[in-house]
């Protein structure tokens, strides 16, 4: 019996391409975030409200990731924002290569803020770097306040938590203070926003925070 030493990361190929994406974003001084959540938490609605809030101030572009259909890309396109839909055909997460291919469709020199909306899934996307500056995890109040403890990998790897659908709090068994406590237990560095895409509560605070990130990337 002989042994061949290997010591290689399985995802190193993805990490290499993610680093190439990151270098390209830096070259264009682009702020890029990767938004993740379970299916139906309201990622696309949050993007729509964000586009409305930042309209005329920032040039946005969106990469949409879904298992099937281009419904989300159609929704974003209605706002006149450049958008590319990646259909994974069953794949549970976006990989850096898919994003790299999608970038060919944009004029990055004419973009200030690029949003990558990942496939709805709180597990796999945590471990695939796409080249983004940071991950935003969206969690809706209908999912319950114990989600951060159930999916620690995602909450640990994210920098921002958006607690969405706060207008539904009177009707669901969910406590925002408990979400915050659980999330900060996993990741005390999280920046937290509370939003409703129906009443627009919290959208200005979130939008202004994003605008500040874009300004910092431009500086």
């Amino acid at each position: 019996m002989s042994v061949v030493t290997i010591e290689r990361k399985v995802l190193e190929k993805n990490d290499t391409i993610a680093a190439q994406n990151r270098a390209r974003f830096a070259q264009h001084r682009l702020f890029v975030f990767n938004i993740v959540s379970s299916p139906g938490a309201g990622k696309t609605s949050l993007l729509e409200r964000t586009i409305e809030h930042l309209k005329g101030r920032l040039r946005m572009a969106v990469v949409e990731g879904d298992v099937q259909t281009d419904f989300d890309a159609q929704r974003v396109a209605r706002y006149g924002v450049p958008v590319v839909q990646i259909v994974t055909h069953g794949g549970c997460h976006l990989e850096a290569r898919l994003v790299q291919d999608a970038l060919a469709s944009f004029d990055l020199a004419a973009v200030d803020l690029l949003v990558i909306e990942n496939v709805g899934n709180l597990v796999c996307p945590a471990n695939y770097d796409l080249g983004e500056a940071l991950k935003v995890v969206a969690l809706s109040t209908t999912e319950g306040d114990d989600q951060p403890l159930k999916y620690p990998g995602m909450f640990r790897n994210a920098s921002v938590l958006v607690i969405n659908k706060i207008d539904l709090l009177p009707y669901v068994n969910c406590d925002v203070a408990t979400i915050r406590r659980h999330a900060l237990q996993i990741n005390p560095a999280l920046t937290v926003f509370e939003t409703s895409c129906t009443t627009l509560a919290g959208i200005p605070a979130w939008g202004e925070w994003l605008a500040a990130q874009v300004a910092a990337a431009r500086a």
Binding site: M1, S2, V3, V4, T5, I6, E7, R8, K9, V10, L11, K13, G91, C92, H93, V123, C124, A126, N127, P148, L149, P152, G153, R156, L184, Q185, I186, N187, P188
Partner: protein
């Protein structure tokens, strides 16, 4: 369910070290898989078995070492294992902790049954 893609990645890495001509000698592929890697060992094992079945590497199997989640406290330097989901130092209570183990997803080495092999 991305274990299939991970399994393909493992075989791709092994191919770079053990050429097709020696494929039949490959036995255990030692893996290090952290608890926070998002990979389920049983599922990975199943997927790997499925993808090597039709290749010259069909004698290969995964020997997975599960790595527990460990953190180091940025305030007092204490290293501790995280066995319940709370990233807080048990000594000084500081939340300023960094992950030192648990996110691994690595191919460590392969065992060959007969002839010697050399790494590139």
């Amino acid at each position: 369910m991305h274990e299939l893609g991970i399994a393909q990645g493992i075989l791709e890495i092994v191919r770079q070290y053990v050429p097709e001509a020696q494929a039949g000698e490959v036995r255990a592929i030692k893996m290090r898989v952290g608890e926070m890697s998002g990979v389920v060992p049983d599922s990975l094992d199943f997927c790997f078995g499925a993808i090597v079945a039709d290749t010259a590497y069909r004698g290969a199997f995964l020997a997975i070492e599960r790595v527990a989640t460990r953190c180091r406290c940025g305030a007092c330097g204490r290293e501790f294992s995280v066995d319940h989901p709370a990233f807080v130092c048990p000594d000084c209570g500081s939340p300023r902790v960094t992950l030192v183990a648990g996110s691994e997803l690595q191919v460590v080495e392969v065992e060959l049954a007969e002839a010697r092999a050399e790494a590139p």
